[in-house]
């Protein structure tokens, strides 16, 4: 597949085949559309990237996960030719982003974290402008814009000035703009931050469709359920370093033990002391003392032992749950349990991380 096109990238648009002027790295591993090696980047005193490695095989989605300031956006900016790295190497479609940025730009679509739109143009004008500047021609750009406006349910607002759009509408328009030229490699930097659940679902559907078409996607997110739902592979970065690189499933399995959640009928001062001998690690208390959470070894009969112990201590129990770890449990374990100021209570409610994060934000 690759050799047929001068050893070019695995996904090549038929309408714009690579030319002899295209610079392709012969050492490119077959199928890797994005490659990052020992990447470093400093902004002033902040070491944004401290030696990051990862690769994204063609046609797959890599979820880049990390707290605010972990270096996700910096990695995306280097890969999309917006920022120059200090050390290491990065390539997209086999093309070095530092040496041949202009070539790289012909393969990529980017939806950046801050909506990169023209506030004084209408939604449609924004898309057509991006299409024209991508070199797809005016008429095809118009047709594609209409198609994308419909897909992202912006048809009604298409001819209104972006200045009057809501945050969610801008976000969707930004994602639409990144798809104008049907790029084989797509970078989505927190594409669903600030979107309502329905809009997030729409973006997720669009991403799944692109994956089915063979597009390679790098998606950064703070929503662990988003990575869980979409990613073939997850790279967790923290303070500019990769702390995990695995499939969502393996990451979850690698996490030690299961998680215990107990809901008491009423808060009890003795509850923690009663539960501690049966769990591994510290017990987190939330909901005014009614909810207890802790890491546990999933031994048979654990839930029964917990209920019996609490019953002996005279503490009434409403609910006991022992469940396998979710990605966010893994995430908190890997990044030392901190997420800036975003999650003041730690992993309080694990089973719907996205909602928990949204709740805190709101």
């Amino acid at each position: 597949m690759r050799g047929a096109h001068l050893g070019g990238p695995a996904i090549v648009r038929t309408d714009r085949p690579p030319r002899s002027s295209d610079v392709v790295n012969p050492a490119l591993k077959v199928g890797d559309m994005i490659e990052v090696e020992a990447l470093t980047k400093r902004y002033g005193k902040t070491q944004a990237l401290a030696g990051v490695d990862f690769s994204v095989p063609a046609g797959t989605l890599l979820g880049l996960l990390g707290p605010n300031g972990a270096g996700k956006t910096t990695a995306v900016r280097v890969l999309t030719t917006l920022a120059l790295p200090e050390g290491g190497r990065a390539s997209v479609a086999g093309i070095d982003v530092v040496r041949h940025p202009a070539q790289v730009r012909r393969y990529i679509g980017v939806a950046a974290q801050d909506a990169t739109l023209d506030r004084l143009l209408t939604g449609r004008q924004n898309l057509v402008l991006v299409g024209e500047l991508s070199g797809i021609g005016r008429q095809p750009a118009r047709a594609r814009a209409t198609e994308l406006l419909e897909q992202f349910e912006l048809t009604d607002a298409a001819d209104r000035v972006v200045n009057g759009y809501s945050g969610g509408m801008r976000r969707r328009l930004d994602v639409a703009a990144s798809l104008m030229a049907r790029p084989p490699v797509l970078f989505l930097d927190e594409p669903t931050t600030g979107l309502d659940p329905a809009s997030r679902q729409r973006v997720h559907e669009a991403v799944r469709q692109l994956l089915a078409e063979g597009v390679t996607v790098l998606l950064t997110t703070q929503y662990l359920d988003e990575a869980d739902a979409l990613a073939d592979r997850v790279v967790v970065i923290d303070k500019g370093r990769v702390v995990a690189d695995d499939t969502p499933r393996e990451l979850k399995e690698a996490s030690r033990g299961a998680r215990l959640e107990v809901t008491l009928t009423a808060p009890s001062a003795d509850a923690v002391a009663t539960v501690v001998p049966l769990v591994s690690g510290p017990v987190q208390v939330s909901d005014g003392g009614r909810r207890l959470g802790a890491g546990v070894d999933p031994v048979p009969g654990l839930a029964t032992s917990i209920v019996r112990a609490l019953d002996r201590a005279g503490i009434a129990v409403d609910n006991v749950e022992v469940r396998q770890p979710s990605l966010d449990d893994v995430f908190f374990a890997l990044t030392g349990g901190h997420l800036g100021d975003e999650i003041p209570n730690g992993p309080a409610s694990g089973h719907c991380a996205g909602e928990a994060l949204e709740g805190v934000r709101a």
């Binding site: 038929t14 309408d15 990529i108 950046a112 990169t116 739109l117 143009l121 500047l133 063979g214």
Partner: protein, 284 residues
Amino acid sequence: MTAATASSPAAAAPSREGGTGIARRLHDVWAMTRRNLVHISREPTQLSDVTVQPMLFTALFVYIFGGGIPIPGGTYKDYVLAGLLALNLVTSTMGTGVGVSTDLHEGIIDRFRTLPMWRASVLVGRSLADLATFCLCALIVGLTGLVVGWRPDAGLGPVASGFVLVLFFAYSLTWIAICVGLNSKSPESAASTGFIVLFPLAFISNAMIPTQHMPGWLRVVADWNPVSAVAAGTRHLWGNPNPSAAIDVWPMQHPVLAAVAWSAFILAVAAPFAAWLFRRRTTE
């Protein structure tokens, strides 16, 4: 091949030609020019620079100073119109600097930087859209002039050439304004820098008043000021009174040539410098 190419048949798939050919560059410039023209149409109050201001200036200068300033061989209104045209266009270039600085602070610039487009089209497109507003300004100055009694004494060709001479000079100045905008931390500082540069440039010249009445050193500066050459050249082409022709300084003896040379020189220096500044400003 992969599903991606299979699902976008060549007929429907947009072509994405490379970004270096001259046709592609013109195409990008045209797209950016249209974008900036849409901006202007969205905020028409910004156009007051080139619509209300020229009318106001023309009426004020002609009626307030008109009687008090004797012009050898003609009337003040015939003398001052070329100067007013130069003054209005020179000060209008401030808007270009502000616009460039504003662009740099908008998220859209990051979008442009990830597209396979000709980078400089961001700047060229702006300069051309502003040139369109300059043409509007020139038209309004001319019409207002005719209303207050200005009359050129030359054929249609030379009169049109006079307008082109000033517009060419203003276009070259937009590139200095672009450099100012690229060097400014904010649109506000671009505006104040522009003010400091442009007002002396416009007024220490023969645009409003013959330089013969200025103190010695200021007169030397004024006679060599490109704005003086432009105003004198335009007066010459329009067949209006041009007292500067009596001054024995090369630019005043050959005002049309001097104006063209100044404009070409400014353009040749400022445009590459602007491109260099833009690259530096957008590198991180």
